[in-house]
């Protein structure tokens, strides 16, 4: 049972600290709520029937295991290490997020909760939450900044089709962080019947550990699949990192394997020189801080005020990074690099043309790093890239970025 979650020496302590990072910096009113959650989660993860139910959902609802695909064309073109893609985009709902949404919804049901609430930026996490809420017959409220509601109408539409109520947050900056606050405040107001389904491996304890555990399936599958195809461990693991759920999901099972090198790719945006141009917390501009309930690196000013970020991919456009990543950065276990928007877009196109795969713009950050790395390595090395999501959702951004004239005309025609 324990092995299902691959415990290792980087795990959090009793208080939820990963080294100096993490913890649970929440108002007193939330402490009992999180204590209840921690207790319920600890029990569930040691309960064979909970794991069996989760495995069943992974397999029969989400379509796991997702393939580990050898990208022969891309490998040949780059002329170096062999590139494998862990295609999480083939999950139900098109991304890895469903893994921890299923785990958390199952836990919510076990705890007797009636409502799922979530925050969402671009809408992907809200969509995954609305999906599992529909599946488990739970009421669903998704908080979304009013600015994002305006920009992401398709996701709002789908969430509503799934029966979720999407609340546009009209206060503060009307963005993701205001949605997080609104969701936390809903939880404070309704602690008895409500489960807050957090969207990444961050926030107060136990969320970073729990989300990692529910994503651990990704790395475990990779281990078995890679062994079957190569009869060894992978040499490199590469994943994009916003909050950090897909990266920790790929890495966690291998953290105790010193020969497996790991690279996490942050959003370099328009370049990492100036705050506001990127969402790279570990490239020199992030500051140690405590925001949204956890201690980690954040893009803040000297006073500690969270600063605006930019990335071509909404999912990485976030000022903080999950606390376990901060720990893996500090210890040097994982190497953190970045990819800029233009490199990401180029990688998106390359993968589409060579392998016939649309990677999400988030995942395209990892693809960009693999394209850089592969030619520098000998041919007997392997790189496993977490293709955390599929790119269909990014049609508006990609069409705009490549300047497709006919697409623009199409939008005009449709709106007329």
């Amino acid at each position: 049972m324990k092995n299902f979650f691959s415990p290792n020496q980087y795990d959090a302590d009793q208080l939820g600290y990963f080294g100096q990072f993490g913890g649970s910096f929440v108002p007193e009113l939330l402490v009992p709520v999180l204590e209840e959650l921690t207790k319920a989660y600890e029990e569930a993860k040691n309960d064979p029937s909970f794991i069996a139910e989760l495995e069943n959902l992974y397999k029969n609802y989400s379509g796991r295991p997702t393939p580990l695909y050898f990208a022969e064309n891309l490998t040949r073109q780059l002329g170096g290490a062999k590139i494998y893609f862990k295609n999480e985009g083939l999950n139900h709902t098109g991304a890895h997020k469903i893994n921890h949404c299923l785990g958390q919804a199952l836990l919510a049901k076990r705890m007797g909760k009636k409502r799922l609430i979530a925050e969402t930026g671009a809408g992907q996490h809200g969509l995954a939450t609305a999906t599992v809420a529909a599946r488990f017959g739970l009421e669903c409220v998704v908080y979304m900044g009013a600015v994002d509601v305006e920009r992401q109408r398709p996701n709002v539409f789908w969430m509503e089709q799934l029966g979720a109520k999407v609340v546009a947050v009209e206060h503060g900056t009307k963005r993701l962080k205001d949605a997080v606050t609104a969701a936390l405040q809903d939880l404070i107001a309704n602690p008895n019947d409500t489960y807050y389904l957090l969207g990444s491996a961050l926030g107060p304890h136990p969320y970073p550990s729990m989300v990692r555990d529910f994503q651990n399936i990704v790395g475990r599958e990779v281990r078995a699949q890679h062994h079957e195809m190569e009869n060894k461990l992978p040499d490199y693991l590469v994943a994009c990192v916003g909050g950090g759920s897909n990266a920790i999901g790929l890495f966690n099972d291998f953290l105790n394997e010193p020969d497996v090198k790991m690279i996490a790719v942050e959003a370099g945006g328009r370049g990492v020189e100036k705050i506001g141009d990127h969402a790279a917390r570990l490239q020199g501009q992030g500051k140690l801080g405590v925001v949204e309930g956890y201690k980690s690196y954040f893009l803040t000013d000297d006073d500690g005020q969270v600063q605006p970020t930019h990335s071509i991919s909404a999912g990485l456009d976030y000022a903080g990074i999950g606390p376990e990543h901060a720990r893996l950065f500090e210890t040097g276990r994982v190497h953190y690099t970045y990819a800029t928007d233009d490199k990401v877009l180029a990688a998106f196109k390359t993968l589409a043309r060579t392998e016939g795969i649309f990677a999400a713009l988030e995942s395209s950050h990892a693809v960009a790093e693999a394209i850089r790395l592969a030619p520098t390595l000998p041919k007997d090395k392997t790189i496993v890239v977490n293709l955390s999501g599929r790119g269909d959702k990014d049609i508006f951004i990609v069409a705009e970025a490549v300047g497709d004239v006919k697409w623009k005309e199409y939008l005009k025609t449709k709106s007329g």
């Binding site: 208080l15 108002p27 402490v31 503060g172 925001v291």
Partner: protein
């Protein structure tokens, strides 16, 4: 002795309810904040919370949240809050005990020890940091640093906290205990929660410190209703709301309403 403790004693001796009021530093601007604070002092509120604006105020409802956003958009810095207190204390000779209220990342980024030392040096008596709870104390030692500098780090009594947790909050707590009139967040609401008496009754058995009730307190009637039940009423967003609706004279009217309700026998 800490000024907050002295004021608590005074309230007790005068056998009346105390009032704590609240401003967001730099909302709508620093000059106006200073005027509002002085007005609150002139009306004889017992404590004033000076909220240092933060980009992610998780414990605050819409009214206070928007005030934080406005203050930050105008470029208000942490050092402005310190400057304001210096003026209030040194130039205006304000006697009312003052709290800095803000979120943990502000003192953390400033340097916890330096924040405590500098706050104490300018005459701040206590800190209210909603997102710091005592579970983190064994790692962060913030309460310890506050004590070292004769500051009271505000303690809270959660609505659903187990008795052993409340006992831990009571231990060594200075000043008063921050209690919640209802679930949820800061913001103006019309009625007192019907379960308030049970909750406060439970707390009275655990805490020897005065009980202050906040969240949703906004009217003279509520102040009246709190008499005999609680020791201090905490009024936050009601003042911001009054300011938004009627400027300084709006705040003045609200102060009149609340203080006269307090002083009515």
């Amino acid at each position: 002795m800490n000024q907050i403790e002295l004021q608590c004693q005074k309230i007790k001796q005068e056998k009346r309810l105390g009032i704590m009021s609240h401003v967001v530093v730099g909302y709508p601007n620093l000059e106006e904040t200073q005027k509002i604070v002085l007005m609150m002092a002139r009306f004889g509120v017992d404590f004033i919370e000076l909220q240092i604006p933060f980009s992610d105020p998780v414990g605050d409802g819409p009214v206070i949240r928007d005030a934080n956003t406005v203050a930050l958009a105008q470029g208000v810095k942490v050092k402005d809050a310190f400057e304001l207190v210096k003026k209030l204390k040194q130039t205006d000779k304000i006697q009312t005990p003052l709290f800095f209220m803000t979120y943990f990342n502000i003192p953390f980024s400033y340097g916890l020890e330096k924040f405590c030392a500098d706050s104490a040096a300018i005459g701040i008596s206590g800190l209210i940091i909603p997102d710091y709870n005592l579970d983190m104390e064994s790692r962060e030692h913030f309460d310890e640093l506050c004590r070292k500098h004769n500051l009271i780090l505000q303690r809270f009594a959660g609505l659903d906290s187990e008795a052993n947790r409340l006992v831990a909050q009571a231990k060594d707590a200075g000043g008063f205990i921050y209690c919640f009139s209802r679930r949820g967040i800061t913001g103006v609401r019309p009625d007192l929660d019907p379960n308030l008496d049970d909750y406060l009754g439970k707390l009275k058995n655990i805490f020897k410190q005065p009980l202050a009730v906040g969240f949703g307190i906004s009217s003279g009637e509520q102040i009246q209703a709190l008499k005999g039940r609680a020791d201090i009423a905490i009024v936050g967003s009601a003042f911001l709301k009054s300011y938004n609706e009627g400027g300084l004279s709006g705040v003045e009217d609200k102060l009149k309403e609340l203080v006269s309700a307090r002083d009515q026998s």
